[in-house]
């Protein structure tokens, strides 16, 4: 009897992706948009070092697979450009600094998830993450768990929330307890119009995302 129950559970686990698959494909199709695409964003950073979150806003520019620019204009200015494995960061009027993404796997994961989402590339997404879709067409949640254990040391999970064909939030959680919530599209525009309270907590932010 117990054995039968285990088999049922195992079957359910195996079958789950297959059942969610059609949803995932149509979801990814909705999310995909032709490059170049821009979206305003508002990022809320929670960290175990901070008593209240840091909130920054700016614009993201997606200009094709593996190419992304992030410009922060409030409360300070910072410009980050990622092309392939190359990252360059300029803060204020300072000198640009370059890195290789191979030295920062979490950034690479972030970028590849982002460009795969925007490019509608399911194959690329599934090569780096295990995917899980929940919710319904109106309010869906896409969970991405990195497959690579080295990446998991820096990024434990990425969750994308959205409504209909548009993403609202992308939540990146790190094993050290820090969480970054990025509001996109409609959610970002709303947050820019009526600024979020400075002491906003995770629960309140969840509401904004859904």
């Amino acid at each position: 009897m117990r054995r039968v129950r285990w088999i049922a559970v195992a079957l359910a686990v195996c079958a789950a992706p297959a059942l969610a698959a059609p949803d995932l494909d149509s979801l990814l199709q909705h999310l995909a948009r032709p490059a170049p695409a821009t979206t305003p964003f508002v990022e809320v950073h929670f960290s175990p070092l901070l008593s209240r979150p840091l909130i920054v806003s700016g614009e993201l520019l997606y200009s094709g697979p593996d190419s992304l620019a992030r410009t922060v204009d409030k409360p300070y200015s910072e410009h980050t450009e990622i092309k392939g494995d190359a990252v360059s960061v300029v803060r204020g009027n300072g000198k640009p600094r370059t890195y290789s993404l191979q030295g920062a796997p979490e950034l690479k994961t972030l970028l590849s998830s982002f460009s795969a989402l925007l490019g509608g590339n399911r194959q690329q997404l599934e090569s780096s993450f295990t995917l899980a879709v929940s919710g319904d067409e109106a309010h869906w949640t896409l969970g991405l768990t990195p497959r690579d254990s080295r990446v998991r040391q820096r990024v434990s999970q990425i969750t994308v929330n959205g409504a209909a064909g548009s993403p609202r939030c992308m939540i990146t959680a790190a094993p050290d307890g820090s969480v970054t919530v990025m509001l996109m599209d409609e959610a970002a525009r709303t947050a820019l119009a009526t600024p979020l309270p400075a002491t906003i907590d995770r629960a309140e932010l969840e509401k904004v995302c859904h």
Partner: protein, 777 residues
């Protein structure tokens, strides 16, 4: 008949016994022999402090253990990634000391020494840890936490909110370093990631270096991400490995060609397999005895000694040839040996005396070579005198009546009598030597262990790209204690900074750059605020910011610790990654401490010389000049000992000949040949080095053999023909052996080969022309 059979049987047993004895002795030597690849054995012995410093730097200095590595053949991002992974793998491997690829490494300063960052960083020289400074820094950190790279900084922040550790590491980066891409070093074309790797093994031990290079390649194979990626390793160690494998390969080819050539020549000359085999006996005896003597007298034997030693003892083949050629029908071999012995003994003694010159040359490798040859040749001479006659059957042929000897004798008799020849050759030789312009001596130390031009160029381009220090100029300072030295270096830094802004030098590096003197450390310590003040400033600075209250307690604790720490010293650094860097610039020697200042891109060396001469405690080392002085000094010593050996040699010949006239006739062809060889080499624009001198001595030794053999028999036509037979075979054999050497790709082997071939050919011709058969009265 029964007698003959018994003799043959006992001869065979004696030969086998002797071979067994040699083999056993060889086995013992093989077990006790320590072969070293240390190329210093062939470098000149230093005669002053600068020379000692130079040789230390060349052989043991950290620079000699550096391998410069480049990775090519993929996109820069991929190369950078592989560079990081390779560096991580090498750092974890005990075969390597310090590994650097341009990445900033937080673990350069171990955890226990972290509070020292405030004493090492120059921040406190210009700023105070007050509320304004802290606030400015904390605002930066907030922005860092809101950036995608936040997780990298999170662990560091509570302890080090001013990122003092990163500032210390940035200050330690070389002034002129390679360009950076993706956090690692790249060449200026941007298509090769560069690393500097220091091996633990000695730089000039090819065995250690080969191991390190193989290990490095294995790590690369494990981390490369594409098969198109290529690894290039260069540096002194890589040179040593390449040179060793090339010499070994060349020596192997030469040995095979020589053996085949000798067997054919001996068969042709004596038409007797027995004599071919017996001729090898003195050679084997010479090799085993020579090697045994070197193994017994020296701690370790250089691979080059062994390779050259066996080549040079090839001369020992002359002795059995001389014995065989003098055989006569119906004469017991023992009797033949007895009759040729005075000449043979003189020949052996003369060559041994020539080698005495190297025994006192002050170069350990040459002393080993000399020991090898003196003992080996003496043993071969004795073997020819006492062993070979026992093994030879009663003579049945007179080689003097062979077709070869008759032809040679006819030719020899047809040679014109030219009494004026010797003075004319001498005059032409001297005029040529004096009048032809061109470099006489090759003073470049590097040519003693020559490295192919392409490898040197590859090394230089990498060295330039990495901003590795200039190899020619160094400043040296002395002081009684490390701290006194650091104080002196700090004063010097101010003047060197001025020279850098004037573009006299591109940059410089010295120990106080990494380890400030205790005075400076105490001054920074005094500038650190006390616990209460710092706490108040921090509270003021952090007001209104998002940081959790109490977050920076580890920072407060570190500053409090830093206020009471005893200053960091060379001793406390031991065992940290920093010790390697400081240790290369600050060394204890001869009761004091020496500090070295290295430079990049020296534009005006005369300005550095002026700086050094204005301060009695600073010395400018021009390593190129020092190396040339060293070679020069070494050559003078070798030339002096060669002159002494020449005098001794003439005395020995004179003693054997018991006549001034005969002595002159023996020595003249040899002396003239040496002059002719010198003039030819000089005329072809070849600058002479140590190995040419070795070869000249060898050729002179061979020439002396020919002179002695021919002169002794000049009164008797039959004996003269036999001597002609012997000398012709000896000279042909020597020419074959050294022509093979002369065709080597290695400059050292080539210079020896060409010199000996020239010398032997000239000796043979001149001895024919000058040592005429005296017509019987």
């Amino acid at each position: 008949m029964p007698l003959n059979t018994r003799l043959r049987g006992s001869a065979r047993i004696t030969a086998l016994l002797w071979l067994a004895l040699l083999a056993g002795f060889g086995l013992v030597i093989h077990h006790s022999l320590r072969i070293s690849g240390d190329l210093r054995l062939f470098m000149p012995a230093p005669h002053d402090a600068v020379g000692r410093l130079l040789l230390d730097e060349v052989s043991q200095g950290p620079a000699s253990k550096l391998l410069l590595v480049s990775i090519q053949g993929a996109a820069p991002e991929a190369l950078a990634g592989t560079s990081q992974q390779l560096a991580a793998a090498l750092r974890a491997d005990p075969a390597f000391g310090f590994v650097s690829n341009g990445e900033q490494r937080l673990d350069m300063v171990p955890d226990a020494l972290l509070p020292y960052r405030y004493l090492l960083s120059p921040t406190l020289d210009t700023h105070r840890l007050d509320a304004d400074y802290l606030r400015e820094q904390l605002q930066e950190r907030e922005q860092d936490l809101a950036s995608p790279a936040a997780t990298l900084l999170t662990p560091l922040l509570p302890r080090d909110p001013t990122l003092e550790l990163i500032k210390v590491l940035e200050a330690w980066e070389p002034a002129h370093q390679a360009q950076q891409q993706f956090n690692v070093w790249f060449n200026s074309a941007g298509n090769a990631a560069l690393l500097i790797v220091q091996t633990r093994g000695a730089g000039f031990d090819p065995a250690d270096q080969r191991l390190a290079i193989d290990t490095l390649r294995r790590h690369f194979e494990a981390v490369r991400t594409s098969p198109a990626m290529q690894l290039t390793i260069t540096g002194p160690g890589a040179f040593a490995v390449t040179m060793q494998s090339r010499s070994e390969a060349d020596a192997r080819v030469a040995a095979v060609l020589d053996s085949v050539g000798m067997v054919l020549l001996m068969l042709l000359a004596y038409r007797s397999m027995r004599r071919v085999l017996l001729g090898a006996l003195p050679l084997a005896t010479a090799g085993v005895c020579g090697l045994g003597a070197v193994a017994a007298l020296f701690d370790s034997v250089h691979g080059i000694t062994i390779a050259f030693g066996f080549t040079l003892t090839g001369v020992a083949l002359d002795y059995p040839i001389y014995l065989f050629s003098n055989e006569q029908p119906g004469v017991q071999p023992v009797q033949v040996a007895r009759s040729v012995w005075p000449t043979l003994a003189t020949a052996v003694a003369a060559v041994c005396i020539a080698y005495l010159a190297f025994l006192v040359s002050g170069v350990l490798g040459l002393a080993q070579l000399a020991t090898f040859n003196i003992v080996g040749l003496a043993a071969a001479g004795l073997c020819t005198r006492y062993l070979l006659p026992q093994l030879l059957p009663m003579g049945v042929r007179d080689y003097g009546d062979s077709r070869l000897s008759m032809t040679l004798a006819r030719l020899s008799n047809r040679l014109p009598r030219l009494p004026w020849l010797a003075p004319v050759i001498a005059v032409i030789g001297v005029v040529a030597v004096i009048s032809i312009r061109g470099p006489w001596w090759d003073n470049d130390l590097g040519h003693l262990t020559p490295v192919p031009e392409a490898m040197v160029r590859e090394y230089e381009s990498l060295q330039q790209a990495l901003g590795a220090p200039d190899v020619r100029y160094l400043l040296a300072l002395q002081a009684a204690t490390p701290d006194a030295l650091l104080v002196r270096e700090e004063a010097l830094s101010r003047r060197l900074d001025a020279l850098t802004t004037q573009h006299v030098i591109g940059g410089y590096d010295l120990a106080s750059h990494y380890l400030p003197s205790s005075a400076v450390q105490r001054r920074r310590q005094a500038a650190l605020p006390d616990a209460a003040t710092l706490r108040a400033s921090l509270e003021h600075a952090v007001a209104g910011m998002a940081f959790k209250p109490g977050l920076f307690a580890p920072f407060l604790a570190d500053v409090a610790r830093a206020r009471t720490l005893p200053p960091l010293t060379v001793q406390t650094l031991a065992g940290t990654p920093l010790a390697l860097t400081v240790g290369s610039l600050l060394q204890q020697r001869e009761g004091g401490w020496t500090g070295l200042v290295t430079f990049t891109d020296v534009q005006q060396p005369q300005q550095l010389a002026a700086l050094a001469s204005s301060n009695g405690q600073i010395q400018l080392l021009d390593l190129k000049q020092a190396a040339e002085d060293l070679v020069n000094h070494q050559r003078q010593r070798i030339l002096a000992s060669m002159a002494a050996a020449a005098v001794l040699l003439i005395l020995v010949v004179a003693a054997t000949c018991r006549s001034f006239g005969r002595m002159v006739r023996v020595v003249t062809p040899m002396g003239l040949s040496t002059l002719v060889t010198l003039a030819l080499l000089h005329g072809f624009g070849i600058a002479l080095n140590l190995f040419h001198l070795i070869a000249l001595v060898l050729a002179a030794g061979l020439g002396l053999d020919y002179g002695l053999f021919l002169e002794r028999s000049s009164a008797d036509p039959a004996a003269h023909r036999r001597a002609l037979h012997a000398v012709t075979i000896c000279a042909t054999a020597a020419c074959v052996v050294f022509a093979v050497l002369g065709s080597s790709t290695l400059p050292v082997l080539r210079s020896i080969g060409i010199t000996v071939v020239l010398g032997v050919a000239s000796n043979f011709l001149l001895s024919q022309l000058l040592i005429r058969r005296r017509d019987p009265p």
